[in-house]
């Protein structure tokens, strides 16, 4: 088991090294992004004390994947496998736990670490073969896959909107809108195999246009019930806020899509760093978006003619 973690360390080193960064600098950048993003959430979101630990738990999903767990079960005996998964989740939980302690959230941090350790024993949850229906089946694939991975988030957000209307809390309703409009960002973070770009009989700009068009239409479709509710149930002086938030979220989404193809098929910390910077300081989009567009257009020429 010691060798397994040694190997994971080597893998991490190689992954950072392959991005062109010195691994030590890469780790430093990674931690800086983590601290920046965590602080940003606490600064901008009202109920960060509750939302932060919940959001943090999403990072554990990748470790519960069926493929890797089947592999681990295959090579380790049951006791070692369970112990290994427990240690993995503990290692991943430590930065979030320490940050919460730093923010003086003691009870939630303890609950968080217990949940993080407990879910290490529940794997393959995401591997249900039951097909979740999706309204996006005509336009595979990002929204189909993303919706199926995060489908539970949408009824929760709609429910939060309903609650916000009931208690006449505009900010809470706005928060649910931000969640719904920013969730599609996660649909575009992982680069697909080159085959799925290559198959398109379009040039890079047409390809990007199609991707962006689909993303905007479907994101608006998901946010539509909340936007309409906000417009109906909250007075007209909030129109500009709703419009600004929606447009900004869509611009960030477009930046994420272009960012993915700028470095495609690789994933680099630069793209993530720039995206997070745009979320933290939206005026940056004016510079980052054209840069990503130009770079992705150039980059896709290898696969699309």
């Amino acid at each position: 088991m010691k060798y397994y973690f040694k190997l994971q360390y080597k893998r991490l080193y190689r992954i950072i090294d392959s991005t062109g960064f010195n691994p030590l600098i890469g780790v430093f950048i990674g931690f800086s992004i983590f601290i920046f993003a965590s602080n940003l959430l606490f600064d901008k979101v009202e109920n960060a004390k509750i939302i932060y630990p919940i959001l943090s738990l999403f990072f554990f999903g990748k470790l519960s994947g069926k493929k890797r767990n089947d592999f681990l079960k295959n090579i380790f005996n049951n006791f070692k496998y369970k112990k290994l998964r427990l240690i993995e989740n503990l290692i991943l939980a430590i930065p979030f736990f320490v940050f919460m302690l730093f923010k003086n959230i003691y009870i939630n941090s303890v609950i968080f670490i217990f949940i993080a350790l407990a879910i290490s024993q529940f794997n393959n949850i995401a591997s249900l073969s039951f097909v979740i229906p999706t309204p996006f089946h005509r336009k595979p694939f990002e929204f189909i896959v993303g919706f199926r991975n995060t489908f539970w988030l949408f009824p929760i957000s709609y429910f939060i909107t309903y609650m916000a209307i009931t208690v006449q809390n505009f900010n809470l309703a706005l928060f649910s809108l931000i969640i719904v409009l920013l969730t599609p960002l996660s649909f575009y973070t992982k680069p697909e195999p080159p085959f799925f770009v290559w198959i398109h009989s379009s040039n890079p700009s047409e390809f990007l246009y199609r991707k962006i068009k689909t993303a905007i239409i479907f994101s608006l479709a998901l946010g539509f019930p909340i936007i309409i509710s906000l417009l109906i149930f909250f007075p007209s002086n909030n129109y500009d806020i709703i419009a600004t938030i929606s447009i900004l979220a869509l611009f960030i989404l477009v930046t994420a899509i272009l960012g993915k193809y700028s470095f495609y098929p690789s994933e680099t910390p630069i793209q993530l760093l720039l995206l997070i910077s745009c979320i933290g300081f939206p005026p940056l989009i004016i510079f980052v978006l054209p840069y990503f567009y130009f770079k992705s257009n150039q980059n896709l020429k290898k696969l699309l003619k």
């Binding site: 073969s129 097909v131 595979p140 085959f195 799925f196 290559w198 398109h200 009989s201 003619k305």
Partner: protein, 226 residues
């Protein structure tokens, strides 16, 4: 329309995988490429398809080759959480092909409403092949189409190849099953250490088969099993 490969070379850093490949694939013919594992078959296919950079030229008179090539990989890529039907829809959308009923096109009786990730190796291959066929391509590059597929489907694939040939398509396949190549191909190219060692027509296939059999395998096995 013929597909001509001229002086194609490919290197991965210091490792030269393909060296000065010259080939001519004719329309209405099935061409086979054989070679040991690692000989460079998949790399040739990827270069022709435009999935890899290369030196040299791939000449195809007509529209942009990439937009009319159907490429079946040895182990096709799939995206998790999409169904077989959605996979086919994705491939058709990519080429602006409108198909209303995928069920009637499902000649391999695949469970199209299930997630692709739940499919067996053979089912995945059949799904990928169905997608490539639905795209209405002019050139077909099929990397080991018979691999991992059941006997009945193997027969169907052979019939599909015959049908494509009748339709005057350009077809290039690779396989390690010599009998399948014997039955389907019009010509064979033997790829050895990144170069074309031999190209033969149907009546000379045995020459390549003999050469592959006599490549010193026995002495290597004797070294392994004492």
């Amino acid at each position: 329309m013929s597909l001509i490969i001229k002086s194609l070379s490919k290197s991965y850093i210091d490792n030269k995988v393909l060296n000065d490949i010259n080939l001519h694939f004719k329309q209405g013919e099935i061409s086979g490429i054989v070679g040991e594992n690692g000989a460079g078959k998949t790399t040739i296919f990827k270069c022709i398809a435009g999935l890899e950079d290369y030196n040299g030229s791939v000449i195809y008179k007509g529209e942009i080759l990439k937009n009319t090539v159907g490429f079946l990989a040895t182990n096709p890529d799939f995206i998790s959480k999409i169904t077989g039907k959605e996979y086919l829809q994705l491939l058709c959308n990519a080429r602006d092909i409108k198909i209303k009923d995928f069920d009637e096109k499902n000649i391999f009786d695949l469970p199209l409403k299930q997630y692709c990730e739940t499919y067996s190796t053979g089912m995945k291959k059949k799904l990928a092949l169905t997608g490539v066929l639905l795209q209405n391509n002019e050139v077909f590059i099929l990397d080991e189409p018979f691999n991992g597929v059941d006997i009945h489907s193997n027969i169907i694939i052979k019939e599909i190849l015959e049908k494509l040939k009748e339709l005057n398509k350009t077809i290039i396949i690779s396989s390690h099953i010599f009998s399948a190549l014997n039955e389907t191909c019009d010509n064979l190219h033997y790829l050895k250490n990144g170069t074309i060692a031999k190209s033969v027509n149907k009546n000379e296939f045995y020459l390549i088969e003999n050469e592959m059999k006599n490549s010193g395998i026995k002495s290597r096995i004797d070294n392994l099993i004492i």
